[in-house]
Symmetry: C2
Subunit: 232 residues, 2 copies
């Protein structure tokens, strides 16, 4: 029997937020096509986490598309810059950090759109978050709205179906603790996810980068035990 559910493309990094977005797409009744962009991340741990999460949450397929954003340089996540450690919440809120990858979400959404179009899908899920967001401009609701508008002008599907593309960003207004509570209620196994920008060779999280800081604080605020193995 053919799968009659509507298809959605879900951008999946292997982190906590995108795993939760995938679980929301499941709750919303979509057939889930998970997409991971291998953009020259410094650690294979992220890709492995994405594979585990796609399987756990029942994506019907998971594609990994290589795209070497290191070709353009400009970020501690893709170039040889140091990942900042031990920053306060205030320091994180004060500006755009060196871990910012130029135009990352624009590139990722564009690729998701290309796949959505060939799948005849009009729905893209993205786990961005504008509350505990580490200062990235392409995580804001106005960015999402602008991309949705673009998608409907950019594509054959948008033109022929008159603007039905939707970019779902179900976490955009949630604090990290609320994301974790939502994910747990939807069956996410957070022990499979990976957040650290600078893990040890054995995969243990550093416990000190912005991403570890936000993750730890989120579990603490949610009153949920954090399954992550931290080095410090």
């Amino acid at each position: 029997m053919a799968d009659q559910r509507r298809p959605a493309v879900v951008l999946l990094s292997g982190g906590l937020d995108s795993a939760t977005a995938l679980a929301v797409a499941r709750r919303d009744g979509f057939r889930r096509h998970a997409l991971t962009i291998a953009y020259g991340q410094r650690h294979a741990a992220e890709l492995e986490a994405a594979r585990r999460v796609a399987a756990q949450l029942g994506a019907i397929e998971h594609r990994v598309v290589p795209l070497d954003l290191r070709a353009f340089g400009g970020s501690a996540l893709t170039a040889d810059l140091d990942v900042p450690k031990d920053r306060s919440a205030e320091a994180m809120a004060a500006g755009i950090p060196v871990t910012y990858v130029p135009a990352r979400n624009t590139v990722f959404l564009a690729l998701a759109l290309a796949w959505a179009e060939t799948l005849e899908s009009y729905d893209i899920y993205l786990g961005v978050n504008a509350i505990d967001y580490s200062g990235y401009p392409d995580c804001r609701p106005e960015f999402i709205a602008a991309f949705e508008q673009l998608a409907n002008l950019a594509t054959k599907a948008g033109v022929e179906r008159r603007g039905q593309f939707q970019v779902h960003a179900p976490l955009v207004h949630l604090a990290k603790a609320d994301i974790i509570r939502l994910g747990i209620s939807l069956g996410v196994d957070y022990s499979l996810t990976h957040s650290c920008y600078d893990p040890a060779p054995d995969g243990a999280a550093c416990g000190r980068c912005d991403s570890c800081f936000l993750r730890r604080a989120g579990f603490a605020a949610a009153g949920v035990s954090d399954p992550t193995r931290y080095n410090q």
Copy 2:
């Protein structure tokens, strides 16, 4: 002496239109960083043409970024579909053809934006054209305007410089004959460019696909001899 000109990223396919856009960026006084996306084109002829054109028109660098859009399928230019031949101008105007690559210009502009941001460039040139445009939705002025708006929301540069990103589409309102006249006045050597969707193994153009049809008709209308080697 350092090059004091402002930098611009120019998307360069190796075709007639993008070569002309590169010449316009030169006329406008920009330092030109040419970007070619190797998206699983069926013919290396396009990439070779891009290299020749970048050199002829004095780009200070030319990057070729591999991105295999065949991963998503959906186009006669990237999948195993037949390229249509011998279509009339009316047939071309009637709908979006199978040579349409899903979300291509969205993906290309997103990558240009990523590079522009690391170059501290606020200018992207794109040789799209809404007149003799073969029916692609992502060649229309409203698409360009929507991307410009997105770019200013998406990026650190857009946020910090308050919306200075500009997507230049200098050919968007020109007929093919006018593009050719403009390019010749700006020193483009069209014998270096490649337009055919289905060239012979020796590089000769088929003379029958939409792209050959538009190119031939453009040279004829401009009253300029067409330097292309056609098979038919």
